[in-house]
Symmetry: C2
Subunit: 497 residues, 2 copies
Amino acid sequence: MTPWLSARAALTPSLPALRVAGRELDFATLARRAADTARRLRGIGLREGDLLAVLLGSGLAWVELAHAAPLCGATLLPLNTRLTARELAFQLADARPRLLVHGPDALADAARRAAAALPGLARVGIAPGDAPRLHELPADPGALRDELVLEETAAVLYTSGTSGAPKGAELSYANLLWSAVASAVHLGTVPGDRWLACLPLFHVGGLSILFRSVLTGAAVTLHERFEPEAVSRALDADDITLVSLVAATLQRLLDARDGRQAPPGLRAVLLGGGPLPAALLERARALGFPVLPSYGLTETASQVATLPLHEAPRADSVGRPLFGSRIRIVGDDGVERPTGEPGEIEVRGPSVMKGYLGRPAETAAALRDGWLRTGDIGLLLADGSLRVLDRRSDLVVSAGENVYPAEVEAALLEHPAVAEAGVAGEPDAAFGRRVAAWIVLRPGLRAEAEEIRAFCRARLAGYKVPRAIRFVPALPRNAAGKLLRRALPEASLDASQ
Amino acid sequence: MTPWLSARAALTPSLPALRVAGRELDFATLARRAADTARRLRGIGLREGDLLAVLLGSGLAWVELAHAAPLCGATLLPLNTRLTARELAFQLADARPRLLVHGPDALADAARRAAAALPGLARVGIAPGDAPRLHELPADPGALRDELVLEETAAVLYTSGTSGAPKGAELSYANLLWSAVASAVHLGTVPGDRWLACLPLFHVGGLSILFRSVLTGAAVTLHERFEPEAVSRALDADDITLVSLVAATLQRLLDARDGRQAPPGLRAVLLGGGPLPAALLERARALGFPVLPSYGLTETASQVATLPLHEAPRADSVGRPLFGSRIRIVGDDGVERPTGEPGEIEVRGPSVMKGYLGRPAETAAALRDGWLRTGDIGLLLADGSLRVLDRRSDLVVSAGENVYPAEVEAALLEHPAVAEAGVAGEPDAAFGRRVAAWIVLRPGLRAEAEEIRAFCRARLAGYKVPRAIRFVPALPRNAAGKLLRRALPEASLDASQ
């Protein structure tokens, strides 16, 4: 089919597409800019089948690259801007992109360092002063792709796993499109809607907003980051009808609004990225915020279950599966559980990923007969809606970012004084959950919590660094020696901070 | 993916799905009834991969069958209720369905006669008194399909061609779904919309309304046939927001309303099935009817171009291609024509049919590199919208029904007194176009127009029988002897009526 932005620009060229950093672009203009970007990417050697790595803050350049990649027949590889050079280097070495487009300053520095060990990787910046700079490079005059193959991989998004090593989830054009279709028919999104995107574009939750927009003809207002005052102002002044938040950002938004009611035009607040406290939902509701709890994963190209608009919001359910997707609950014995009984949440449908890039064994373990094993625990209610009881035990969702304890533990274990390490989430007023570490020191050695945090900061993105570090004599383990992360909070302390 | 009605019923079980013959059903009820129908179809031997022929007037049973077929893994074969037994027999022999479900009275009679020569074909009625009757048959207790394969053929719809022999266009689930998605994002259809379907369900224009409804959660009000007074009353009293019409039915509707304004809730009148006279558009506009001219074919699973809602309706354009589809204009030399220059309209996109059932040569002629040759003549305007200049010369669109001259000519040539026959459309105040025949009699033989019409009525559906018959000494032909249908109106007459 026609590349989506081209299709949308042909259909409604003069409708607003994007408002960002004080600029407003219509679909025709955005499509022209994306095509120009695509020609320059081709000019510096991006070819069909290549991966295009993007290490940029949210902004116009990011949106142009997202729509330029399909015009080159290339796969998008969004990189988390909060990762360390070391973490970036791992993902780049794993995915082997042809080209890395990066932002200025710290991002340019991280890109340079991460790419140092990858001689085949070209780098290009987008800011003034970058050398080479994308928009100053010669454009390839050849024809761009005018046809998408739905089965091809549109994007690879890294997500960590129980092993601690991040894996690249391969999302096809069909995955992204079905996700956008299901969202559109769920919310009844139309031209005239305006979606406020203040989630990072390197997350599926932010990226998917771009594709929903071109499918439906709705506009996007893009914020570089979540700033509660700026989001609050945009809601009041910018005709926002839809916004995607996580519990922590909703709370900060309500704090910033200081009791002011939601603007009447706001149709839905999509709430993903972890559990929604009932008290927060109640507070939002009292102020007129139409909160729709939802459930989704990187591997499902964003939400797969969301409360319908016409039902009263509730904190104990994330709604029914979106159109075309199915959810079932499976017990430890591999048998499907009846309504009301808890077990592992499995998802099947057209937005479920193709697999993990270059990892057939992990793909086979995650996808069985088309069913994605999420590792999350939940149950189905009598009305067919899903209650999420617990995110997978190896996942801490903190302010909407996923932190995988195994990855943090691996970093901690590199410290010379650390003999054993266990990481888990614990409640946090501001972020929902925060990362905590329980550490057993090597005999005769000592270490300060602050020193260990500094050690982690050199290796891990800031949001993964444990906020609390507790030194304990032993970690809770089962008979086979397997770490019992859920039991960590009860480990007896001999020091804490 | 999940079968569509099942998906919709899981998502919004209590929203209204269908209002028909004074009954109102929600999606859960309709899904239960479709599943019950599917079990009975299986009980009488319908199996995966079979074709299910349906010869029924529009009504609840038709809708149930349309949603039951996918649950059986069967392909729907909608039959035009206006065809003669002879025409039906041709299509049944060509498609070889396993089962024919028919309506009462004349339909039962036609079904019986058409099926007489096909001993392998089971027949079942749906009305009281039919023997056997579908809903009194035992249900198969086995599990129904819970997964659609998008590439499989969902429906075969017969459409005639230049050869005069009808061909079955194979539409996949993906074709139907993409058509529904494109319509939904074009019109911004939401739950709360209500689509009045008064086109026959055996036409793609009627059938596609059912699939759009389950995708979007919009309700359908289904009329058995187009009755201007009933449609007018429904518009005023039934909260209709969308309606599909053809020029002839729009005109009769406006006549019946006698100057009354359109109800304020009516969002769009989708107008397909041939050209829209500018005067009719103007009349509709003055009364507040938001007419959206559109262009589509059976082979594209309904509309592929439609004016956008936010643009002023015009009679000289059918709008831009729907999301995901492309249209180009190609000259006789096979080369694409620039904007503004006329040529054959070609369509490419996810709703273009798989091909003609069992006819590889005709499929290859119609589909080249994914482009469907429509045979229609048009041009693209500077804004990317399509102007249809002329339907293919071998097609007469009369009151929304397609009549293929070659098929009518073949019937005329069976008459012993007819030496040569040519058929073409001519303007008609009530139906837009009407079928006219020019006949050369055999030397020394005579025939009356009324006798020839009666001869045709035994062989052709009523709407195909020539309204006007003109006896002429010779037909216009080119040097190679090919009939020049466009020149028929200038053939010199020696009798007319």
